[in-house]
Assembly symmetry: C2
Homo-oligomer: 334 residues x 2
């Protein structure tokens, strides 16, 4: 039997900061699964900053969202009906079919969740894409060594907060920048060494320099803009810049000037390297094993900021750009 | 016995583009070598863009030049008198005691030239620091693979012209940018695939795009500025940026805005890595062996632009910033 569902469609391409009117809630009917197909009802969906990039009509590492079509993104659902032997009703599954309440899928687009002692939505955060992003970017590009100083921007978010904790586990000194004392107080409770509230600190360079008086060995960049310029200024020789994101620029309608001190890349022998999580997919098993252990022994903690109902998914997404989330931003759908 | 010599001293720190009046020719007396010392008369000295950085009074990877003191740099000389068993009159030696006609040294600061079938000044260029810079930066950061497209700025210079030729030997397609047709015609005669005269091409992005229609896999940067922005625009996923120098910025009195498209580092998974040649000193033996073979079999060629007499060393240095050199800029002192 078919079931009613709602989904969020891209109504118009945002120009600058996205607004609610760029999105549309639409009612739809999900057909009954055919032979070999599986019907899934979503429990949780993820909103992530990278999705802003898919709203531009341009070629990138993922194809752009299409006007009038439902958006896509990570989601955790429960199998409601299955015509495939590998799945049965009640199975929890991960998919990229977020932004909708229910869907029919071929099995290849679904991944069963392991039976670990974590809530299922952790697979959208600490044990999912943001966690692997933090883990792999820090390891492969940052190459942290004990005693080094790691500067993390966007440190209160889903990726940044995990980077801070892994860097501590690797023996590093961690300086975190975020836009609210609430986020920073939480990070301090997790053991970071110094915190900078970029909204209230006054001169960002002075504030980060005071927090990292010996300079920066690793910069994990989620923000770009002024933060990147400050990190270049304070970078020590052979610093590694893990270029994960530049959320400060995602809504620019005109390109902004880049860092005025980019020349330090030469003289300080800096490595500045961008990545997307798919580049390091080979680390996924190792990541899940190590992260599950860290969660179990209490070494890694996380927070969630939750909106409820598919109709609030655009609101959840928009709030990423005003720093409205502490930790992982999620939408609960059931 | 002591001998008369002349040397170039830093008279004042340049502000912006260096001018002749920042330098002073001084007559001096070089004392007779004491026990264990060696007296050397220089035959050739090198001027290199990196020396501009040492004229600022700031901490960097090498200490700043001091006002009133002779400048330093690579030089090739001939032993005139020796009180050390490892050196005898007539030996050709390399040192960092350029910018002067003669000097007394301890043996540890001298390196005897191997007896290869090249003119001695090649050890200031193709077989010396610029050659190793090209060889090691391209290998360690660029990691060229056959069939890839390499874009080289400052391609007519001592480093750039060697990068172009090594990249061809590695099976790459080479697009070179330089500021004169004379340089580019020479590079074309060496086998590069496409040439851009950045002074006459009009829109640099359009010109490089036409020369590299499939995009850029490796950018060997000697220039920075607009060239870096163009390379970011045309970079393919996983491009490597070998950040060797940014001569366009060496004389800036105010920091200029950086590349407006630095965000591509993230989405295109670009690695942008700076270096100085000392980082890859471990490649020196391998470099000298392979380069000597390439020279012998005609695979690598070079040009020199030569000024004569110590009094013209400042002129030689200044002309680096107006693109006055084809290939390696040298001063002949004997």
């Amino acid at each position: 039997m078919s079931i009613a569902s709602r989904e969020i469609r891209l109504k118009s391409r945002p120009v600058g900061l996205p607004v609610a009117d760029n999105f549309q809630v639409a009612s739809t009917t999900v057909p009954a699964p055919r032979a070999g197909e599986v019907l899934v009802r979503n429990l949780w969906m993820s909103v992530d900053p990278y999705m802003r990039g898919r709203m531009y009509d341009r070629q990138s590492y993922v194809p752009p969202f299409q006007i009038g079509e439902p958006l896509q993104g990570g989601a955790i659902g429960r199998v409601e009906a299955s015509n495939h032997p590998d799945f049965k009703s009640g199975d929890l599954v991960e998919s990229m079919n977020g932004w909708r309440e229910a869907f029919v899928s071929v099995p290849g687009a679904l991944q069963k969740l392991p039976n670990e002692n974590v809530p299922p939505q952790a697979y959208l955060g600490v044990l999912g894409m943001p966690g692997l992003t933090a883990y792999s970017g820090l390891a492969r590009i940052g190459e942290p060594k004990s005693g080094e100083t790691v500067f993390v921007s966007g440190a209160g978010g889903a990726v940044g907060s995990i980077v801070c904790q892994i860097a501590k586990l690797r023996g590093c000194r961690v300086v975190a920048s975020a836009g609210s004392d609430e986020k920073l107080d939480w990070l301090k409770s997790l053991g970071i060494d110094a915190a900078v509230n970029y909204k209230t600190c006054g001169n960002l360079l002075d504030a980060v320099q005071a927090a990292a008086p010996k300079g920066i060995d690793i910069y994990f960049d989620n923000v770009g803009g002024d933060h990147l310029e400050v990190a270049l200024e304070l970078a020590r020789p052979f610093a590694r810049f893990v270029e994960c994101g530049m959320i400060s620029a995602y809504n620019d309608t005109q390109p902004k000037p880049g860092p005025r001190n980019i020349i330090y890349v030469v003289g300080k022998s800096i490595k500045m390297q961008g990545f997307i999580v798919m580049n390091y997919w080979d680390m996924r098993d190792q990541f899940r094993t190590e992260m599950a252990q860290w969660i179990k022994d209490g070494s890694i903690k996380w927070q969630e900021t939750v909106e409820h109902g598919i109709e609030n998914a655009p609101k959840a997404f928009l709030s990423l750009f005003s720093g409205g989330n502490v930790g992982k931003m999620l939408v609960k759908l059931d």
